[in-house]
């Protein structure tokens, strides 16, 4: 199956309760490999990351430390085999995030 469309589900606990359902964001081809992109979902900014493996991850676009909407400009990398991500606005070397804290989003087949 070729992955064509990127969808996301919950953006925050509040949204999870509101149950947006799956919202289609863009085509997988619209995302650059190992780069982040910002997207608007229900008026909220989200950061979407496409990895070389084809997996797609998402975060809230707002950096909780700097309060700037810049998370999509973070750096994608890996530690061992685990995908890692580091925010753009901090020099703290320990703030890289393992994939487990990312929200893994579906990159599913276009209907």
């Amino acid at each position: 199956m070729t992955i064509e469309a990127v969808s996301c589900q919950a953006l925050s606990p509040a949204d999870a309760q509101a149950d947006l359902g799956w919202v289609e964001i863009c085509s997988i081809e619209d995302l650059y490999v190992d780069r982040g992109s910002a997207a608007l979902v229900a008026g909220k900014q989200v950061a979407v990351f496409r990895l070389e493996s084809g997996e797609v991850y998402g975060l809230c676009q707002k950096d909780p430390y700097s309060e700037a909407f810049v998370m999509s400009r973070g750096i994608v990398g890996s530690r061992g085999d685990a995908p890692q991500w580091r925010p753009p606005c901090t020099s703290r070397s320990s703030t890289s995030a393992p994939a487990s804290v990312w929200m893994r989003w579906a990159a599913n087949h276009r209907i």
């Binding site: 964001i25 863009c26 619209d30 910002a38 900014q45 309060e67 909407f69």
Partner: protein, 144 residues
């Protein structure tokens, strides 16, 4: 010291082209023209004889190099604007390319924009607030 005078336009252009290409060929990395002129053996007189009298016999070569440069010149900014794929990278949102990022907030200080502080953002959200806040497209006059 004057390099040349009373040149007609074609000769002027040729002189400038040869001077620049000779500089590009022989100057050190990041060396400016004035130190380059001083470094050249014979100084400005030697450069003048190369450029005007073709004393080294490289005049045609310098002309051809400049012609090739002009021929291949591409304005990178214009090329980006003409390329939808490159232009796409400047959109704020991948799924809403025409929507501006509204998270930017600026206030006017002495007629110039500066980023709003958290306090100013909070103040601007209150009703009857005197703090005016704007995004990236407003003119920043002290008109309020």
């Amino acid at each position: 010291m004057l390099f040349a005078e009373d040149l007609d336009t074609p000769t002027l252009l040729k002189t400038i082209d040869r001077f620049l290409m000779y500089y590009i060929r022989t100057a050190d990395r990041l060396q400016r023209t004035a130190p380059w002129v001083m470094d050249i053996e014979g100084g400005i007189d030697a450069i003048r004889s190369v450029v005007q009298d073709d004393s080294l016999g490289i005049g045609a070569d310098l002309d051809a190099a400049m012609a090739l440069h002009v021929l291949n010149y591409e304005n990178e900014w214009k090329a980006t604007l003409d390329d939808p794929e490159k232009l796409r990278r400047f959109a704020s949102f991948v799924n809403a390319p025409d929507t501006a990022d509204d998270s930017f907030a600026y206030v006017s200080e002495r007629g110039q924009p500066r980023p709003a502080t958290e306090e100013e953002r909070a103040e601007a959200r209150r009703p009857c607030s005197r703090v005016q806040i704007a995004g990236t497209t407003r003119r920043y006059d002290d008109d309020h």
